[in-house]
């Protein structure tokens, strides 16, 4: 019984244990399943993270490439700006190339650069810039170019850049260029100044990991254009400079000719003055004798003269006076021109001078019933002049005004201050002077061709003397006139 009970209890315990273990296993299984789910989730999350990492790294790489390209462009543009500034600030062809610094070209991404220009006379390419090649290499490349000028001249004519990427170049040609120029990639851009020799720039790199981009081609093309522009400017400048030099030379020659001519004119004028002076002096002695003898004869001391003889002697005497006046005028002109006649300048009242002249000419004024009036401004009443000489100016001008004014005419004298000088205007309502005669009127022996001049005698020296006296006072004289209305002679005198 006891054994049965024991067996029963053991069986029960075993059953309970099995049930318990089953429950435990079930619970563990559930936990394992939950853990497996967690592991799966974690694995999935990790895989997702890995996928995200892949996306991230790919995007980052693209961004880095874009950034690198952008940086390269910014650096290149900066270098290009420096290069442009360097080449554009020179107006001398050789200096343009000397200003290109190797560091600028390196910043463009090319360690090898050559610049050639075509020499039309020599029929060959001439090297102007060599950056990155040894002397030996550059000579070899230049020799190669000059043995194969045609394709490179055609390339310049095409006016289009070429590069290791260009479809316009076949692979064989690209490989030849790479081989001859010892580079892995290259850009060729024509230099096209409008004037003078053209050429090209070659930019290359040995770096196989840095292929040429479109941006590189554009940059080198811009640089080539800048070089072309700089060369054009330098050549235009040289041309202009040469033209200016020629012009300056011509101006210098002409000036020299004119100076020489002026010297000759001065010499001739001086000789003329001297001649006139000497002739006048020579004339004055016999004239004095003629006039003296005529005067003695007219006194009748040497016997009574028949009326006919007296009349003739009177004429001789009068004409002798005129001739003496003429000779005196000539002598005065020549003395003033030669500077021998010193102006004894003092401050004089203009009114007094005019009154004195007016008195002197009162007979003539009365004869033609001409009214002489004057209007002297308060600040223009005093002049610093040689009064005797200036009186002759007034006498001549007023005399002329009387001569050419109609009876009962009007002569007006006005004065006003003009800057530091006094301007005097003597106006009449006479016959006037034709325009063409207004210029030469002050020249010696010039007489206006009009009716009055044909009737009245004159030497043609009066206005010349007037001009010389005014000029000796550092003044100016001019005339304004309208035929049939009248004339105004204006002149300036110092104060």
């Amino acid at each position: 019984m006891v054994g049965e009970n024991t067996m029963y209890l053991i069986g029960l315990a075993g059953l309970i244990t099995v049930v318990y273990l089953s429950v435990i296993i079930m619970l563990k299984m559930k936990k394992i399943k939950a853990l497996q789910t967690e592991i799966y989730k974690l694995q999935r999350a990790l895989d997702e993270t890995e996928e995200q990492a892949k996306l991230l790294v790919r995007t980052d790489m693209e961004l880095n490439k874009a950034q690198e390209e952008l940086d390269k462009k910014v650096t290149s543009l900066y270098a290009l700006q420096k290069l442009s500034r360097a080449v554009s600030t020179s107006l001398e062809e050789n200096q343009i190339f000397k200003r290109i610094e190797v560091s600028y070209l390196e910043e463009l991404g090319f360690e090898k650069t050559l610049v050639y220009l075509w020499d039309e006379q020599e029929k060959k390419f001439r090297l102007f810039i060599n950056k990155g090649y040894s002397e030996e290499d550059s000579v070899a490349i230049t020799d190669y170019l000059n043995f194969n000028t045609e394709p490179y001249l055609n390339f310049i004519k095409s006016q289009k850049a070429l590069s290791a990427n260009s479809k316009a170049l076949d692979d064989a040609k690209k490989e030849t260029i790479k081989f001859k120029f010892k580079v892995a990639s290259f850009v060729l851009a024509p230099i096209l100044p409008k004037e003078g020799s053209q050429g090209f720039i070659f930019a290359g790199t040995e770096n196989k990991d840095a292929p040429i981009s479109e941006g590189d081609e554009e940059l080198i093309t811009i640089l080539a254009n800048q070089l072309g522009q700089a060369l054009e400017n330098a050549r235009l400048f040289e041309k202009t400079w040469r033209a200016q030099q020629d012009l300056e030379k011509k101006v210098e020659e002409r000036t020299r000719d004119l100076t020489r001519a002026l010297e000759e004119v001065k010499m001739i004028s001086q000789r003329k003055t001297e001649f006139v002076s000497s002739v006048s002096h020579e004339l004055r002695t016999p004239l004095t004798s003629i006039k003296g003898y005529a005067a003695i004869l007219l006194t009748g001391k040497l016997g009574e003269l028949p009326e006919e003889v007296r009349l003739r002697l009177d004429k001789i005497n009068r004409h002798s006076d005129e001739l003496v006046q003429f000779v005196n005028d000539l002598l005065d002109i020549s003395r003033i021109e030669a500077g021998r006649e010193a102006m004894k300048q003092t401050s004089e009242e203009l009114k007094k001078i005019i009154d004195s002249v007016s008195d002197l000419l009162s007979t003539q004024l009365k004869e033609k019933e001409i009214e002489l009036s004057y209007d002297i401004a308060d600040n223009a009443g005093v002049v610093f002049v040689d009064s005797n000489q200036i009186k002759r100016v007034f006498i001549n001008l007023i005399n002329n005004a009387i001569k050419f004014s109609p009876p009962k005419g009007k002569i007006t004298i006005k004065s006003h201050k003009d800057d530091k000088q006094v301007q005097i205007d003597i106006s009449d309502n006479g016959c006037g002077i034709p325009e063409h005669a207004q210029g030469p009127i002050f020249e010696e022996f010039y007489r206006v061709d009009n009716q009055i001049n044909q009737q009245l005698k004159g030497t043609g020296l009066g206005l010349t003397l007037v001009k010389n006296i005014v000029q000796a006072h550092k003044g100016k004289i001019w005339v304004k006139s309208q035929p049939g209305i009248g004339s105004t002679f204006s002149f300036t005198l110092p104060q």
């Binding site: 790489m61 940086d71 650096t75 770096n207």
Partner: protein
């Protein structure tokens, strides 16, 4: 310590050497112990070194490099020379050495360099070694291994190799010799106060992967798939496209090797992809390493430069070998910044040197070079200060006294 810094951007090597030496000598009161010269490759020549030696008027040990761009207090320059003249305080010892044919026998060359540097150092406590190499030491890690065989696994080593450009080969300067495929080094000892800061700023992206088969710097499989698939899947490109974009991918997206306890992943640039799908990296990638694809941005890159400078500045005062005071302290910084950073930062590259100068202060003379592969010890305790070859990093060494 006397420090003289000279800089010139003259395009002629003789003129550059004359100008830089004249400026550097202006601050030197006593005789000169050591000269360090970095120049752009376009002016590297024996003329440059001979002119420096002639201008100094005496034979001074000189080591240096030419590279794509130099770093100085004036910023970054792709043309020029920067020259540092040093007179160390009493108690500081140093030795310079040169070894050649590094690529052909990298481990042996490393050992030879170590032996030469140790010459005369029997009784002097060693402090720091600095190694320069021209071009790229392909098996750089093996060279370091050889060097550590002689100097000790935990001995601090810094330095860098100069990258060749597409057009010009970089050069190594040692005394009056200009050479290639060589290494030059300095071993300092005695009471030298120095500190190092190194960071890169690249961040991990995506899920971790395991290097399932590799040998030194050649990785055959990642996640049991040909190594090249790793990059092909990330960039969704075929083999040819990947090869074409290799330079860019290598700069911007290196792999990062996870190192226990290290703040940053150890970066490895791709050198080449073989047709069988294996990839060669600049520096070893141990089998079993956990790796991630890394991504760098300008911001993280500049932030890392700041952290490296701050770290170097902080450490200078944390464990000095001789008593130093902040006031009147004379110090200089040797900066090696990866050329990848130059390519990433592009127009902002100057900002990096500005940040360093801002952190170190205007009174710190700065001299440096853009490099490809920077040497520095790891910081994590588990690595016991072991020196590793870093990629994409900026390494700042400050020496003060």
């Amino acid at each position: 310590m006397d420090i003289g810094l000279g800089f010139s951007t003259a395009k002629n090597s003789v003129l550059a050497a004359q100008e830089a030496t004249r400026l550097a000598k202006m601050n030197m009161k006593e005789e000169i112990d050591l000269a360090v010269a970095f120049s752009s490759t376009d002016i590297s020549s024996t003329n440059l070194l001979n002119t420096i030696a002639t201008s100094l008027g005496t034979e001074v040990p000189l080591i240096g490099l030419s590279g794509l761009a130099i770093i100085s207090n004036q910023g970054i320059s792709t043309h020029g020379l920067v020259l540092l003249l040093l007179k160390f305080p009493e108690g500081v010892h140093f030795n310079t050495a040169y070894t050649k044919d590094v690529n052909e026998r990298s481990t042996l060359a490393g050992e030879e360099m170590g032996e030469k540097l140790l010459y005369g150092f029997q009784d002097i406590p060693r402090a720091l070694a600095m190694i320069f190499s021209d071009g790229l030491i392909e098996a750089g890690s093996n060279f370091i291994y050889g060097l550590q065989e002689r100097l000790g696994r935990s001995f601090p080593v810094t330095g860098a190799s100069a990258p060749d450009s597409v057009f010009l080969k970089s050069h190594l300067y040692f005394n009056r010799e200009v050479s290639t495929n060589g290494c030059a080094g300095i071993l300092w000892g005695g009471k030298l106060n120095f500190s190092l800061g190194i960071k890169h700023g690249w961040k991990p992206l995506g899920k971790p992967h395991i290097v399932t088969k590799s040998n030194d710097n050649v990785v055959d499989e990642i996640d049991y798939k040909p190594a090249v698939k790793f990059y092909q899947e990330y960039f969704n490109c075929d083999f040819a496209k990947l090869r074409k974009d290799l330079n860019q991918i290598s700069i911007f997206y290196p792999i990062g090797v996870y190192l226990e306890g290290e703040e940053e992943y150890l970066l490895r640039n791709i050198l080449s992809i073989e047709s069988n799908g294996t990839m060669r990296f600049q520096g070893n990638v141990p089998q079993g390493s956990q790796i991630r694809l890394m991504i760098g941005t300008k911001e993280t890159c500049l932030a890392a430069a700041k952290q490296a400078a701050e770290e170097a500045k902080r450490n200078l005062f944390s464990n000095p070998r001789m008593e130093i005071k902040k006031e009147g302290l004379k110090k200089f910084a040797l900066v090696f910044s990866s050329i990848s950073r130059f390519m990433l930062l592009r127009r902002d590259a100057n900002r990096e040197s500005e940040i360093i100068q801002e952190v170190l202060g205007p009174d710190t003379s700065v001299i440096g070079l853009y490099t490809r592969g920077e040497l520095a010890p790891l910081r994590a305790v588990s690595y016991r200060g072991e020196v590793y070859l870093h990629n994409q990093a900026i390494s700042i060494l400050i020496i003060g006294g």
